[in-house]
Structures are given as C-alpha cells and as structure tokens.
C-alpha cells in the first residue's frame, strides 16, 4: 500500500499580501504568496532527546526515513493520518508544533509490531509510538489517553496482586473513563455467555470478581515493584520536565 504523504504546506502556512511592492515591482495578490518560514527558535531541539529518554524511544536516532513502518502499519490502513514515519521525521527535526497537530491519535498504535518486523534499522517504531504518546502526556499536551488509563489499571492490579482478573479490569477501566458498563454490546455478550455457560464456571467467575486471584507470597515483589516504578517515574519527569520535576523534589 502506498504511503499517504503529509504535506507541510497548508493554507494557514501561506501568506499573501494584498498590496506588496518589492524593488519597485508590484507583486500584490497571489504573486506575493510564500510559505511562512520557520526560524531557529521554532524548533524544539530537545524533543528527540526527551523522547529517546523514555522507554521505547531509545533507537529513534537510527531512522532512515524509508517509510517501511507506515507502509506496514495496521492503524495507517484504517486512518491514513496515522503516520509513524512522518512523526519520527518531525521529532528528529524538532518540529513540535506539527507533531502536536496529531496529538490525539498517536496513542492509537495497536502494538501489532508489523513496523518493528519491517524496519531495516531496528528503530522499534512501536516503542517510539509509545514513548511519543507518553511524552505528549508528560508535557501536558494531552490528557491521559484511554490506552494509558488501561495500562495503568492493569499494571496497578499486577503490582498489587501478581495477576489480572478480567472482570475487575473491565469495571475499573469503564469507571475511570466515565463509561457505563451497560453498553448494548457488553450486555448482549454477557447474555449470550450466560445462556449456555455451565453454572459451576459461572459461579467461579463471579467469585473471582469478588475475591481477586492472587499470587501468594507476593508482598516482596509488590514492594520492590512499587519502589522501582516510583524511581522510574521521577527519572522520566527529570528527562522531560527537568525544572518542574526538580522543584517538586525540593
């Protein structure tokens, strides 16, 4: 599938002067149309380093811009605006304002790893997508995405009990994202399931949503993981927002 390429030339980047005379020649109207130029201060030179400091972003510097990632991308096939190659270009150039235009879709990467499979330079674009959406949140450009909320719901549960329980995950996620559990399709699914599920299994599943399954002797791991996660979060804040993170520390 060919890559749907993005253009940096858009109506809002074009300037036309109604009355313009240059060197005595009248170039009013479309004769004076030009693309607004970027100046050095428009570039965020730290952006690549900041994203490279987050988990998954480490190898962004290897990119050759071949486009294999976008070409193989599952999400790109559904939404042509989803373009990993283009975002990696913007990040490496430091064109923050352009990247932010797509801030609401970058988190939609489904982690299918087709890009990682196709990438000839081992950039691990899947990781770069995760690091980039993480960066957008840490910088305050976007609120926490539904995907990040889901990651948190699952991770908290694992750190706490050692395991994931599906019913609990569903309930907590819907609650945290302000959605009703009584969606048409969830109700239809549960009705179908209950209609032929053996009673004994039904009872077992009901019980496990009340009493979460646990890994026994997990307290040591729980403590270790909590401490490690806290350290990592502080480190990531330092890498992305050194001033803010530093002030909070003191």
């Amino acid at each position: 599938m060919p890559i749907h390429e993005q253009s940096l030339i858009r109506p809002e980047n074009l300037t036309t002067h109604e009355e313009k005379i240059i060197d005595g020649i009248d170039v009013s109207g479309h004769w004076s149309t030009f693309i607004e130029s970027r100046v050095v201060t428009d570039y965020n030179e730290q952006m690549e380093d900041e994203i490279a400091a987050l988990p998954g972003g480490e190898f962004i510097h290897r990119c050759w811009q071949c486009g294999s990632c976008t070409n193989s991308c599952t999400v790109n096939a559904v939404n042509p605006e989803f373009n990993p190659r283009f975002w990696i270009y913007l990040i490496r150039m430091g064109i923050e304002s352009e990247l932010i235009r797509d801030k609401d879709i970058i988190w939609q990467c489904v982690s299918c790893n087709k890009c990682t499979y196709a990438c000839p330079r081992d950039v691990y674009p899947e990781g770069v997508m995760k690091a980039t959406s993480h960066w957008l949140e840490l910088k305050g450009h976007t609120p926490q995405s539904p995907s990040a909320i889901f990651d948190e719901v699952c991770t908290d549960q694992i750190v706490d009990t050692g395991k994931i329980e599906d019913g609990r995950t569903l309930r907590r996620f819907m609650q945290k994202t302000g959605q009703s559990l009584l969606q048409d399709w969830i109700v239809a699914m549960i009705k179908q399931l209950v209609s032929h599920l053996p009673v004994s299994l039904l009872a077992k599943m009901g019980l496990s949503t009340l009493i979460a399954p646990r890994t026994s002797g997990w307290s040591g791991a729980r403590r270790a993981l909590k401490r490690y996660i806290e350290e990592q979060q502080t480190e990531q804040q330092m890498a992305v927002n050194p001033v803010v993170a530093g002030e909070e520390k003191h």
Partner: protein
Amino acid sequence: MPTDQKNYKKVAYYPGCALEGTGHAYNRSTKAVGKKLGLDLVEVDNWNCCGAMEVKNVDPKIQTYLSSRVMSITANEMDMDVVMAPCNGCYHNLKKAEYELANDKESAEVVERLSKEAGHETYKAGQVETIHALDWIKHTIGEDGLRERVKNSLSGMKIANYYGCMYTRPRHIFPEKDAGPGSESTYRPHFMDDLLEAAGAENVEFPLKTACCGGAHTLSDSDMSTKLVLNILRAAEESDAEVIATECPTCHTGLEMHQIRAEKTLGVKTSVKILYFTQLLGLALGLKPRKVGIQENISSSTDFLKEKGLA
C-alpha cells in the same frame, strides 16, 4: 538438534491470567488434549502475570522481570527446562524476556535487583526454553501421530487459521523460527494449519493469518478494534471458511466480542464460528464438546458442530 526430535512429553505449564478468566475454554481444551495424547503438564507453582500487553507501556523492564519470575520458578524451584504457554501474550512476553536478559545488560541488572528484593532466585538467560502449545503438539505428536489418533475426522470443515501478532512478531525474539525446513515461519506461520489438516480439516487460503485484531485497544479504542476484527471475520468468510481457528485467548475473545459489537454498533452480522485449535483437535481426537469447553465460548457453535457430526 533438529526441531522434530525435541522431547516435550513432560513440560511446565504456564496458563496465565487470561486462561483462568475469559480464555477458560482454552485452558480446559489444552489440558484435555494433553491428557488424551498422553502428555504431562505440570502447572508452574504460584505463577504471576507475565506483564500482559500493558505493563511494557509503563516500563518494559518490569514486564521482563514479571516474565523472568515465571521462568525462575520453572528452572530453580521445579527443576524443569521447558515451559509451555498456550497464550500468545504469555508466550511472547517470556520469549521477549529471554531475549532481553541475554542481550541487554540493563534489563538483566533490573531483573537481578527486583528478584533479590522480592526474595527469589534470579532467572538467568538460557535456563528455560519457552514453547507455545502449537510447538508442543507439533514436536511431540506431529502430523503423523495425530493422523493415527484421529477418531472423528474434521473432514469437510473449512478452517481459516488465525495466528495474530504476538506469535510471530517481532522476529528477533523467536530465534528458532525461520530456521529452515521443519521450523515455523514468521511470515507465513503454518503449525496450526499442519495440525488441523492432519485432523482432517480443509484449510482455506486465508490472507490475514497474522493480521492484528486490535486486542491492545479492545476496550480503550473499541471502534478501532471492531474495524480490525471485522476485517478478519469478513476475510475469513470471503475465503469460504466456516470456522476461524485461534491460538490466543486475547485474539479469541476479541474476535467473539467484536463480532457481537459489530452487529450492535455497525449493524454488520457475520456468522463464521470462532474456536480454539485445541477445541478442534480435542473433538477430532474423540473428546466430547463439554470436555473441550465448547459451551464456555461466548458464541454458541453447538448447532454447527452437530451438523458436522462432532457433537
């Protein structure tokens, strides 16, 4: 050692969280098939979650630690050297942890620190070999072995084999794949095709074997998942398949859930059946539908199986 001479007759069994929840039918059918084939599964003691699809987004090294703990118990407490994980997510994560521990010093240091603080032995790369349920049956029983044992042939059943993402990608964590004749292919996986064909089924030419079902966003971006699942369901139907055979609880549940959701939200109805490959193999080996958890699937396939003389 050539792959077909491996001995997986007795292996550690790591069901993982999904197989104790929504993927219950996969757990039941895997155990039933193992028993029927005379293979010994010893469940990993006091196992924990491998990190699923989500923990790596918080920090990949935590996922590496979680998976390493499972392998550490297998090697150091149970004294076994092969662990079998039927779930693609678990299988993938254990493989990935193995790769990271062998190749990334920082990951190894974090795992060592967390293992010490948690109070168990640190897993060292190379102690355990992780295999999938497909490897397990393919290498111990094989197609010829299956053919001899089939009681109810799946003949006349048209199957689209769906492998999903985590079983083949990214390639670097599966060094044993793409290793010449007899090995699995990451580009065109065929182990499930081989086994079901030996059980008598007719595999259709299915172009979306390794397409993504959007499992990572099954709840967080449901519209995307529904679109991706619908692609898979429609492609299977257009390939003339009656059944999609699955080998991953996340894919399986995703296909079932979004088949219903597509009907409810987009008004698109598809009727292709979705069954775990272990359920199909179990039926072929003469097990009753109840024994392979047919009634535990969300969508009912009882009428279809009756029609085929398998229920």
